[in-house]
Symmetry: C2
Subunit: 508 residues, 2 copies
């Protein structure tokens, strides 16, 4: 935030905290008759630079009536307060924000030109320093969406996103890591494999994302069990002690640009191959990882639907990984249905804990996937043969060593806690007898989101009917959990309007 | 705004006008501890539906502290007040906004699919009823930018934009019209040719745009001379009386979708071929025109830079015109330099009036372009031979008939007035002797915009040095006009940093 040049012709104002939360976009409130608005000719929606104590931020102007502010005062939204770090009643200078020069690169991309690495660095720098308004962020995200970035652009974006964040040096190798390309509800293997490989003696400083368009990210799920907002020093302490952690990458500012872009992708419900790769690999590189295993589920309603698409993504991930000094191995996995039993932060946390605690009703599919990935990491990190790695992983899980390690990690991250339970739930039942032949992951995820996940931690879907399940009329297919009655009704209305969310055919 | 379905599970609130102007995006302010936020699980930046007296709008949620609102109250931004039409203290129902279903079409377009006509109708309907948040509008505009829409998509968008607005039936033919594809500063021929052809007995109900990315639109320029915000009835009255008018299309809601999209295009400084065509032709068709002449300037720094690009645009304009029942004739014109002497609303208005009033220093280039286009309209509308049409147009201008008609049109639109004069100006001078060999229209336009145009009506650039002008060191090339000292300095700083804004070469 310190990188903006000072502007000439700025005017002094007294800062007032007027208590308006505009989410991540900083807003400044100035009176219509204020001398700053008059003499600089501002209009509503103009971009204003605010300077205070050597720091400068750019905020969107909202114009207010005289009743809200005294002459010479400026109000700031909560996001602007956070960015500026000023105190109530302190003075600041406000003036025209400088034009966002890097938007010319975004326009050039929209007009069909390739983005060079220097251009991407300028854009990412301006994104991180808050110079982009929300509509400009949306234009950049849209211009890069789908497969609009080629290998060189993705590499440039990844490098730019690494460059603007912190980077951890662990002083040793290998540092292993794992990532799952989203789209498969409930696939929360991280909570199981991290304690397994850490118990095996590997170093796995796992940083995860919050949800982009899904009902929960690993960080959202883990947060129901332990704090995940650790800074770099905190992560280092946990990893030095336990060999592994499961934290939110955003709090460490490992890829601060990604955190801004993800907010806009979420609002647009838009996925982008290039930004996905840059997001994943910039976080891995910044976290100091050297070897990364990536779980890439493929299925008709997973994020990646075709083997052609998966093969392309695998190739790009491995190539960009090489370009930023990471050995990346991508495993294509079955993505036809949800994993485990829970969808949504707390429900997924309970499923993962059931596997770790060796509960009799623990979901077997979640256990098997976790063991496969854990074995893959042991091959990479410890040079074990595949068979030996698989045996070792299973032994660490079944002996309870992984569960003890998981509890130790939670305590080390700030204390283990019980995931919340939703006060409201209702079941959706089969309307006829038959066999489950298809499940729409996307619409099932949408039900969980409409129920309030991931912001409502206890909300989501508890799923009872995996592929090939025989059901009778009236038998529950899934239950919707919500923290508020309005959200429960909203999600149920949607779920009950979607006939083939779970497809049932009569047995032949 | 009446087309949104009522939502179940809405909560009653008392509406408060808290006096915050958020420009065109409606915002609702709710307390963090308010029962609505709690029971529905809202978070900042959520989209909220507000229902009042049979009307429903969608607003972005800002969460506020208890000090600003009492329990059970909701604040609305000025844009939300305008859309909802409620009174202070009245009750409204607030609840989750329904998901914007048509965004799936926008995502499909981003992912490379074509937009069908039904999809475009859904999108345009949702845009006009305010269901799109600013970031969603930005994604749609970006997805359609440059040449991303093919002929069928442009035709579909044009039809959809006509369908959501009003359409005037004049009960006779031909109704003639004219449009200039922007990018050429000062090219304000409309103010001259409309009175010429109206004085010749044609019917020309001219509706114009405000600026998108330029320092002034024709409506902005005309507004410094007379009111332009007439509704359909007002336009009909003026046209019945005078045969012509020069009004802002937006006030008539002829293409209300365009007015929303233009706001976002302006914020992004982004042009789009498809939206340009749909914008122009939807307004012409909705205005009841049958024959349209389009001025398409081509030059290295005009909006259209190459003859290939111009030929493509001409073809698309004529084909889409045919598809919506318009005879469209596109004239390619010289777009190498500004037209006339003024850039910015009031400065352009003065130049046009100088031509109409036969002032000795009236700019000849503006006069000639206006006569050419006026003659073209007389050929189309009255079946005159080209020579006869040219003579007739010149005669009507030189006799003062056009000036008298222009004054009558201004009076009929609500009263003629004097354009404002900027209180601050400064000259930019030649640094060496030579001949003007090139002018950067775009950067000259940017100087005018930085000086405050089009929002500051008197602001802009007065241009003294057309191509082939011989200049001496210290001779003024142009003057910057501004309404505020901050804006004057801002524009001058930029102008003086751009060495080849006006290129001067030594005579050989």
């Amino acid at each position: 935030m310190n990188a903006l040049p000072p502007r000439a012709h700025a005017h002094a104002v007294v800062l007032r905290r007027i208590g308006i939360d505009t989410y991540h976009e900083p807003v400044i409130y100035l009176r219509r008759d204020c001398h700053v608005v008059r003499s600089e000719g501002f209009e509503a929606q103009a971009r204003v630079q605010v300077q205070h104590d050597g720091r400068a931020i750019v905020a969107t102007l909202n114009v207010v009536d005289a009743a809200l502010l005294a002459d010479g005062e400026a109000g700031l939204s909560e996001a602007a307060w956070r960015q500026l770090g000023a105190k109530e009643g302190e003075r600041a200078l406000v003036g025209h924000a400088p034009p966002v020069e890097s938007m010319r690169h975004v326009r050039a991309k929209i007009y069909g030109n390739r983005l060079g690495e220097a251009a991407l660095r300028e854009i990412v720098h301006d994104v991180v320093t808050g110079r982009y308004a929300d509509v400009q962020l949306a234009a950049f995200v849209t211009a890069c969406a789908d497969q609009r970035l080629d290998l060189h652009e993705v590499l440039g974006l990844t490098r730019a996103m690494i460059a603007v964040g912190e980077r951890i040096d662990w002083g040793r190798e290998p540092i292993v890591d794992k990532h799952c390309v989203g789209g498969l509800p409930g696939n929360r293997t991280t909570l199981i494999l991290v304690p397994i490989v850490a118990a095996a003696g590997c170093v796995i400083p796992k940083t995860s994302s919050r949800a982009i368009t899904s009902p929960s990210g690993t960080a959202d799920t883990m947060e129901t069990l332990a704090p995940v907002d650790l800074d770099s020093a905190g992560v280092r302490r946990v990893v030095e002690r336990e060999g592994g952690c499961i934290v939110w990458g955003g709090a460490m500012r490992l890829s601060p640009a990604d955190d801004v872009l993800i907010g806009v992708e979420r609002a647009l419900d838009l996925d982008s191959e290039g930004q996905l790769i840059a997001s994943v690999l910039s976080k891995k590189a910044a976290a100091g990882s050297t070897h990364v295993v990536i779980d890439l589920p493929v299925g008709p309603t997973a994020k990646v639907r075709s083997f052609e698409g998966a093969a392309r993504l695998k190739e790009l991930l491995e190539a960009v990984g090489q370009g930023v000094g990471l050995e990346v191995r991508v495993l294509l996995t079955d993505g036809r249905q949800p994993v485990g039993r829970g969808i949504g932060p707390a429900l997924e946390a309970r499923a993962a804990c059931a596997v770790l605690r060796r509960a009799p009703d623990a979901p077997k599919d979640l256990e098997e996937r976790s063991l496969t990935l854990a074995a893959g990491l042991l091959v990479v990190a410890q040079g074990l043969a595949p068979d030996a790695a698989a045996l070792r992983a299973r032994e660490l899980l079944e002996s309870g060593a992984a569960w003890r390690k998981f509890q130790a990690i939670c305590e080390s991250q700030g204390g283990m806690r019980e995931p919340p339970v939703a006060p409201h739930h209702a079941e959706v039942v089969a309307e006829r007898a038959g066999v489950v032949v298809a499940i729409d992951n996307r619409r099932l995820a949408r039900v969980a989101k409409l129920a309030g996940a991931p912001l409502a931690k206890a909300a989501g879907v508890e799923f009872f009917a995996p592929l090939d399940t025989r059901v009778e009329p009236g038998q529950p297919l899934f239950a919707v959990h919500a923290e508020a009655p309005g959200e429960l009704r909203y999600a149920l209305d949607y779920a009950r309007s979607q006939a083939d969310l779970v497809s049932i055919e009569e047995p032949r």
